[in-house]
Assembly symmetry: C2
Homo-oligomer: 395 residues x 2
């Protein structure tokens, strides 16, 4: 039956990260390869209690088919939170519930992408988005991501060469690089996208996880609603719910609802009702503050260990939030080769190459995850990686 | 931003059924329009208890990211059930868990359909599948559905005119027509599809809901695994879980996993774990037998009421299972016009027209749902519809 596959299947691959994760199933390996939140931060008892409440008194709305738009109470909570967090005034009807924020990318691609349309990505870019977009056969074009955000001169010049449909970006604590846009870059990218008629698609799964510096408003707040904003409960509650959302209104929202209906009818009513009960009866602010403090501590422990264990010439990012730290080796060294030496020493990471759509880029970069490891594991794992690096660099 | 929509959006519409359901929000209207299972059959207490079990003892696997393939215990249960129900020997690895069986169609379309590929549908066809396929811009070709299954001479002649990629069908108690394939037709359609190299895509959400006649094996059992089979818990447990599955192996399964990963990473771990606890500790056979008996009774009550209340010249199907009954008006009468008269009399149904992809077909047909109404409501609703029909037909 493989002879019947659509042409797109030649560019839709299994995630390289998932292949690495198989290696790290070995419990003797310390893994910084995953992108998982720390399960010690999950509010187990509160979720169990929320499920009890959601399923008490024969609740038809938790078990029957439901609306494609998503539960009104859940949409109201999300809209309200945008106001308290960043002064953004939204109606519950501006929110569309999705099956995780991965589905947001699939829905946006369905609504906007014809085969061959140009999609602008950050360099490096989130691998899950590259995969979702690839199904719709766009051409990818990329612009460098600096420590304060994207290179806008590169974006201007890229648009001068030809039109692009949309610009997909993760302005807060990006996966994989951990980079965040400065306030100035947020305003400037919004201005540029409006002026050049480029649809800005803002993925924000990590926005609440800032442990350093000041919270900054979404780019969406500067585009007067003429962009798309995505969010998720995966990093602030738990990923197992698979609940994300898209902020959109008018004709765009209507189009997203139509393709959502064609994709899975609606996100499970059961998980939505349990989430609502959790949000109503649990102190989410205190919970998120706890996650922030913990990830901040783990990030500092990792940076500190790297400064002691890594050899000269290896540079690292200084994340202000999120779950990732970005490492750059000296030019000419490939992290795809380093990974074998690291696994021999029982430590794993993700090489940077898969986050670049162009061949030959990012060979000397790699991603470290600090959210899902204890401080002791971080110290020991960084020490092992330091030995591997010294051998690899011949120091 | 609407000026940026992909071309496909011109053929992706909101479900007409969802528009009718808005009318029926009026509680004074008796609605046979929906396609909902009866919420009185939901195992509320058992699900509540299953959630308690799934969330006891800090279960990381219910709340963390999980595999795209789906929970191994859930896949094992599904594989085992195919053996006990129809002697089909499957491995857990032949099952891919999806976010409802609606997602199965989306994933199959992603793997197999290039723009312009021909998809063969039954006439009438399931509206949700028409919507999902439409996103991938195929051409639709249809063959008549008789009371014992599809017109295979029409299928042969259609294939003689040009190739088709796949044939999507619902052989058990089809939505909307309620029709089922005879054993002979199942064997014949399998033989034809293998001989003509046409991929058979078998959607089976209602297979367990047979209340009359003998259970028949899936077409899949006659294709030696060279077809695709889809299933769902929506009609045997509850739809709010949004758990369906695809039976596929080898390269096809691998391709489905890749596009599933790009679509929503994985189906919620939380609902999968609750479903497993339900399946382990609840008597599903007794539960399904109860649903079958109830829907069988409701179907008989509806058929009986129709025989007393409907005027001459209106014919109906004789469903052996599922949730729907199909009504045909005399030639030249349009159910799209009847619906207004029916709603005036506080009764609703779905006109047949949206289930036909070709213009001008099915005008004189309509779908009645009998699963989600009490016997009293069925009697009263059919009586109201009978009055509307008599006036409409001038009798």
């Amino acid at each position: 039956m493989e002879d019947k596959f659509a042409r797109r299947m030649s560019s839709v691959h299994r995630s390289f990260i998932r292949e690495i994760l198989k290696v790290t199933a070995d419990p003797s390996i310390i893994s910084f390869a995953g992108g998982l939140p720390n399960p010690e931060c999950f509010p187990y008892e509160a979720i169990s209690e929320a499920a009890r409440r959601a399923l008490a008194d024969k609740p038809v709305n938790a078990l029957q088919y439901s609306t494609t738009e998503g539960d009104p109470e859940l949409r109201a909570w999300i809209a309200e939170r945008y106001f308290t967090r960043m002064g953004l005034r939204l109606e519950p009807d501006d929110i569309l519930i999705t099956t995780g924020s991965q589905q947001c990318v699939d829905l946006v691609a369905k609504v906007f992408l014809d085969k061959g349309d140009a999609v602008v990505l950050e360099r490096p870019a989130y691998l899950g988005a590259i995969q979702s977009f690839s199904v719709f056969e766009p051409t990818f074009r990329t612009i460098p991501l600096h420590t304060d955000g994207p290179d806008l001169a590169a974006l201007e010049s890229l648009l001068d060469q030809g039109p692009a449909k949309l610009f997909y970006a993760v302005p807060n604590f990006q996966n994989p690089s951990g980079m965040s846009y400065s306030l100035e870059k947020r305003q400037a990218v919004a201005e540029l996208c409006l002026r050049r008629d480029l649809l800005f698609v803002e993925d924000d799964p990590y926005g609440e996880l800032r442990f350093k510096g000041e919270h900054l408003p979404s780019v969406y707040t500067f585009t007067k609603g003429r962009s798309i904003l995505m969010g998720s409960f995966s990093k602030i509650a738990t990923p197992g719910f698979r609940i994300g959302w898209i902020v959109a209104s008018g004709g765009v929202r209507d189009a997203l609802i139509r393709v959502k209906q064609a994709s899975d009818l609606h996100t499970p009513s059961l998980t939505q009702r349990i989430m609502i009960e959790l949000l109503k009866h649990y102190d989410m602010d205190a919970h998120i503050a706890m996650i922030r403090e913990r990830y901040g501590k783990q990030s500092r422990v990792m940076v500190d260990a790297i400064q002691r264990h890594f050899p000269e010439g290896v540079t690292i990012s200084d994340p202000e939030g999120g779950m990732f730290l970005w490492v750059t080796l000296p030019e000419g060294y490939s992290s795809m080769k380093l990974i074998d030496k690291a696994v021999e020493r029982k430590v794993a990471f993700v090489p940077g190459k898969p986050f670049y759509v162009e061949e030959g880029r990012g060979e000397n970069t790699l991603r470290l995850n600090f959210s899902n490891a204890s401080e002791e594991m971080i110290e020991e794992g960084v020490s092992r990686l330091g030995s591997a690096l010294r051998e690899f660099l011949g120091q």
